[in-house]
Symmetry: C2
Subunit: 315 residues, 2 copies
């Protein structure tokens, strides 16, 4: 069963940051049979069917699968915060594992032949030895350092348990950092962009930042969703794929790129309480596995940063 433009796609969490970019991309590409889930009744693009449900409700999830008979499921839904994830550990673990179990049970009971693209996170690599940090491939040891990362790895492990026990078809994705319009200000780049615009508007006098030395692999979310379509079609079952540019930028560099998009005078203040108990110094993808399938980043980081600042300016 190859992916077709009229294949039945079900996307969970499709109205969030990545989901909305993914939806836009898939519609542009001509997909005609897309269903999405959200907890609230919200506006969705023409031609997309919305199922309002809480994915932690396994009965409702099963009913949704019965209604839309998905051939492909992209599981984007996830409670995703990192900075404060020790405080919200129980909620995060519970939500992320329960919704994962709902999706897996629904697949097993309703759509056992469907393919699941399980969106995990490069956070599962966690604390990586210095020699591996700048080229993290899919086989390095997994040492997550916070409950969010643990919950993402637990989702992978649960998917693996169902895959091994019931023969489900699942492909795993570990995206590295990604940025773009609509990302919440819980993350550094949109937080900086928002604060810059607040200074432009005279509502703030300075930017507050945490650790600026960390080096991350930033991709445009529009490149990330291109990889998701590719993997939905051509990923190998049971395999894990990094998605990342393979290049590192310090948070300080990103901040400079953002500041360069504004004519306002920007003062930067480092705040201890924006530091995490333990931060990962360097995290850069080895992206050989996905580039071997033909994916390469298309967007330039300066252009992405400009788009982000413009988006915040227009809010």
């Amino acid at each position: 069963m190859a992916l077709q433009k009229d294949s039945s796609l079900l996307i969970t969490g499709a109205l969030g940051f990545v989901g909305s970019h993914l939806l836009e991309y898939l519609l542009d590409r001509g997909y005609t049979n897309i269903a999405v889930t959200d907890r609230q009744d919200r506006e969705v693009p023409d031609g997309v069917t919305l199922h309002v449900l809480d994915l932690t409700d396994s009965t409702a999830t099963k009913e949704c699968f019965e209604k839309c008979s998905p051939e492909y499921i992209i599981n984007l839904a996830s409670v995703a915060t990192v900075g404060d994830s020790f405080e919200k550990a129980e909620m995060m673990l519970h939500s992320n594992t329960t919704l994962m179990l709902s999706v897996l049970e629904a697949m097993k009971q309703v759509s056992p032949k469907a393919r699941l693209l399980q969106i995990s996170s490069a956070a599962v690599y966690g604390q990586v030895s210095k020699d591996l940090a700048a080229h993290q491939n899919e086989l390095i040891p997994l040492n997550p350092i916070n409950p969010y990362a643990v919950s993402k790895l637990t989702q992978e492990l649960l998917t693996g348990a169902y895959q091994r026990s019931y023969g489900l078809d699942a492909v795993y994705v570990r995206p590295f950092n990604h940025i773009g319009e609509k990302q919440t200000t819980a993350f550094a780049v949109p937080s900086f962009a928002h604060q810059i615009i607040e200074i432009e508007r005279g509502n703030a006098t300075h930017i507050e930042v945490g650790n600026l030395d960390a080096i991350r692999d930033f991709s445009d979310v529009k490149d990330i969703v291109r990889a998701y379509e590719l993997l939905l079609d051509r990923g190998e079952t049971g395999e894990v794929y990094n998605v990342g540019s393979g290049e590192g930028h310090s948070i300080k560099e990103m901040l400079s790129l953002l500041i360069a998009e504004s004519t306002a005078k920007i003062t930067v203040v480092e705040r201890e309480d924006r530091m995490r108990p333990l931060d990962i110094p360097v995290s850069i993808a080895d992206n050989e596995k996905i580039t071997a399938l033909g994916w390469h980043p298309e967007y330039k980081i300066q252009d992405t940063v400009k788009r982000i600042v413009d988006w915040h300016r227009n809010q």
Copy 2:
């Protein structure tokens, strides 16, 4: 801080199968400062302090830590079923992660210098390639095949996240199969022993069994708890230790040993519904890491089996 006979020990789940053997062993060895937790007010041996609490209640857990100021914590508490763990997946994941978070938060807030012996399970290895199945060391890939195994691995991962972020002292144990008096009949060996006694008593006509071909590494629970004391004292922080005999026995062999302890005529009936969706064919420990610390099994499997059958006969 070396382990002393008057060190303050806190054992969670101490009134369960392994816990009761551990408690008996530590008291025999002369430990004088032992506190245990249980959800119910039950009888405990002289000289042991019982704290009645639900470990998924983080406030109660923290209060318990404040009362007993543990220097060593042995976290045995766990929802532990395997056969039906897909049906009980959500409850199991939630209980095992929540109690783990309670213990870790209590350590972080009350006893940051204490040592945690986190009792995990060899189930985390799961589906192991044929060439590694008969000598599974601590570094082989982790491919858990059911939610119970995933929940035990998630406990390890959460412990690791706290250890890395807050510098807690934790040692990880992955025991292979262990048997002895008081084990629930949810497991094969006690289930067989119980059924044999039921036949002796004229209450049953035959034994019902699942897959008899599986090969497992069975240790006497009394050997397992000896390893726990050793690792509490001499395990290296952050390290994982297998505990297992290093020898494999098929379930069929175990059944024969058990039947040999009875003079009754025993008929064996294989039952499809006692099979699991996916069973691991072979699981045997590579125990080099713990034997290097001086641990070796002391009990002979025939003697252990005899004790188990006698125990069931006396119930």
